[in-house]
């Protein structure tokens, strides 16, 4: 029985978050009435010409710098020629031989640990329009609003060996493009779409198997399912004595299978050649330096800093760098909670806050508790003003009602009881009321200790200082 190795490479189309299109001054906003954002250039009307959007190029440079790639000082736009109704000019302006971004890589985290995925290239191109099939019998309607939206096509080496790795890469890339604010990452709207190249080979074989490309996957779940289906199909095909034919396939989520794309059955001959309407794209060092100067701290650098400088664990550091917003929130909490241990801040951001956001289905940027509120809360927890239990209640109050942390503590009498006289009185009364349990404890049944802690907390409304309570209780029970 052959053991099969899976080989995967990804080509991701990230829509760049420009105001206007890559070659025209039409708006890129999603969801407009059909063809109202398709100008003469986007429609390919006779005589119109493309002019490159500086904002699109700048975003490509940002990406290249963020993945440690080479930014080509001179790159060339080429025409990819084919006929399709959503491609108005009969060619797509793309980059072929000389792309703007060359090389680089991305580190991914999987259950097997860290892995580096190498990037081949990233190039600028224009998006196509959309064909809509639902509303017309025997006809398709063509909406060219999306035509000309800038895309960065990011191509990996065939470095991934499982669906899990492919998804981890896609997630890391998705986080990065949002992190550096070049793409809104909205997968439902098609802002971030993946084509996956899959092949299999017997483990140990050097040569790659024949690959199939599964196009236009717009969710991480579909990426995973499509790869698994395709791997299964290829292995079964080969084991049944068949051979894999290189082709373009689509994943059908309803049937959970991939199928060949009929429109791509012709062997395509794209007749690439340099677009004569566009002289080479030139990027000088000073521009690259300016872009580099404006880059935020990148996820990998931030993760390393959290682990090495702040002493966070790998898990916390990974969660806090899963998105720039999560890390930025954490940083803001830290700023508001001067002197508080970073680990405590991380615990709360990844714990209470994450759980609350999850329950409410909110992004961290829409959190109902601000970083300043949480920072103050953690200060009050760290300095003993409130107990851990009360801190959690306080968080709930902040989440549902809002308000000022200290004012709430005062108004609701949440201050921790650290007065040993008061505590002692409470405990003495408890012991007097529960002689049977006292006897059990003294007879060696130490689990009863928790019974008294619970009672004491109940009586004090959770405000007892837990350390102090433990100490006093031990002494009193010891008799």
């Amino acid at each position: 029985m052959t053991t099969w190795e899976v080989v995967i490479g990804l080509e991701t189309h990230a829509q760049l978050s420009t105001q206007s299109k890559i070659f025209s001054g039409a708006a890129t906003a999603f969801g407009a009435e059909p063809n109202t954002q398709a100008c003469a250039v986007d429609l390919g009307l006779p005589g119109v010409l493309p002019v490159i959007n500086r904002g699109a190029v700048e975003r490509a440079i940002r990406f290249g710098l963020a993945v440690g790639a080479h930014i080509a000082p001179r790159s060339v736009f080429a025409r990819k020629n084919y006929f399709y109704p959503d491609l108005p000019k009969g060619y797509q302006i793309s980059q072929f031989e000389l792309p703007v971004v060359v090389g680089g890589g991305l580190t991914i985290q999987t259950s097997q640990g860290e892995k580096r995925v190498r990037l081949t290239r990233a190039h600028l191109e224009e998006d196509a329009g959309k064909s809509l099939h639902e509303d017309f019998v025997g006809l398709s309607g063509v909406d060219l609003n999306r035509a000309g939206t800038p895309l960065l096509e990011i191509v990996t080496e065939p470095d991934m060996r499982s669906a899990e790795e492919a998804v981890a890469y896609a997630r890391a890339l998705h986080a990065l493009v949002r992190w550096i604010e070049i793409c809104d990452g909205n997968m439902q709207e098609g802002s971030f779409r993946c084509d996956v190249n899959v092949s299999v080979r017997p483990l140990g074989q050097a040569a790659y198997g024949t690959r199939c490309e599964i196009k236009n996957l717009n969710s991480f779940r579909f990426i995973e399912r499509a790869i698994e289906c395709e791997v299964k199909r290829q292995i079964e095909l080969i084991e049944d004595g068949g051979t894999v034919v290189q082709q373009t396939r689509l994943y059908d989520p309803d049937r959970d299978e991939t199928r060949s794309m009929r429109s791509k059955e012709d062997a395509m001959d794209y007749r690439y050649f340099p677009d004569p309407d566009l002289p080479p794209l030139c990027i000088d060092d000073s521009w690259i330096d300016r872009v580099r100067g404006n880059l935020p701290e990148l996820p990998e650098a931030r993760r390393t800093r959290y682990q090495d400088t702040l002493g966070l664990g790998q898990y916390d550091a990974a969660l806090l760098t899963a998105s720039r917003e999560a890390g930025d929130y954490f940083e803001a909490v830290r700023a508001a909670a001067a002197g508080v241990d970073a680990k405590l801040c991380a615990n709360w951001v990844n714990g209470e806050l994450a759980a609350a956001l999850n329950r409410a289905d909110l992004e961290v940027t829409h959190s109902l508790v601000s970083p300043a509120q949480l920072g103050t809360l953690l200060q009050r927890l760290a300095d003993g003003t409130v107990s851990g239990k009360i801190a959690k209640e306080l968080f709930e109050i902040l989440w549902t009602e809002g308000g000022d942390v200290d004012a709430i503590i005062d108004a609701r009498g949440l201050r921790q009881i650290s007065d040993s006289g008061a505590l002692q009185a409470v405990l003495e009364q408890l012991l007097a009321e529960n002689p049977a349990q006292v006897a059990e404890y003294r007879g060696g049944k130490e689990k009863v200790f928790g019974f008294f802690v619970g009672k004491a907390m109940k009586v004090t409304g959770g405000k007892a200082n837990p350390a102090q309570l433990n100490e006093l209780l031990k002494t009193l029970l010891a008799g």
């Binding site: 206007s20 039409a26 904002g55 060339v76 109704p85 309607g141 340099p274 004569p276």
Partner: protein
Amino acid sequence: MSLSEDDVRRVARLSRLALTADELPRLQEDLSRILDLAAQLQAIDTRDVLPLAHPGSDQAPLRADLVSEQDHREAFQAVAPQVERGLYLVPRVIE
């Protein structure tokens, strides 16, 4: 003839041009002549010569990322063969 009828059919298909039966032999002849003319290029020594794709400026100008275009759908679709509800209509596209 430097081109076969099949060659002509292949490029006609690539170019989405319907050719009639009587166009085909004539085109085979004409295109072969043009290609023979073009083939004279093969005799030129172009080692170390860089191709010249753009005779003018060798650097593309870049425009600011600003929306400068308004909606002209009505005017643009006035010249369209078939539109409905703002969409261009074509025979059903099969993916």
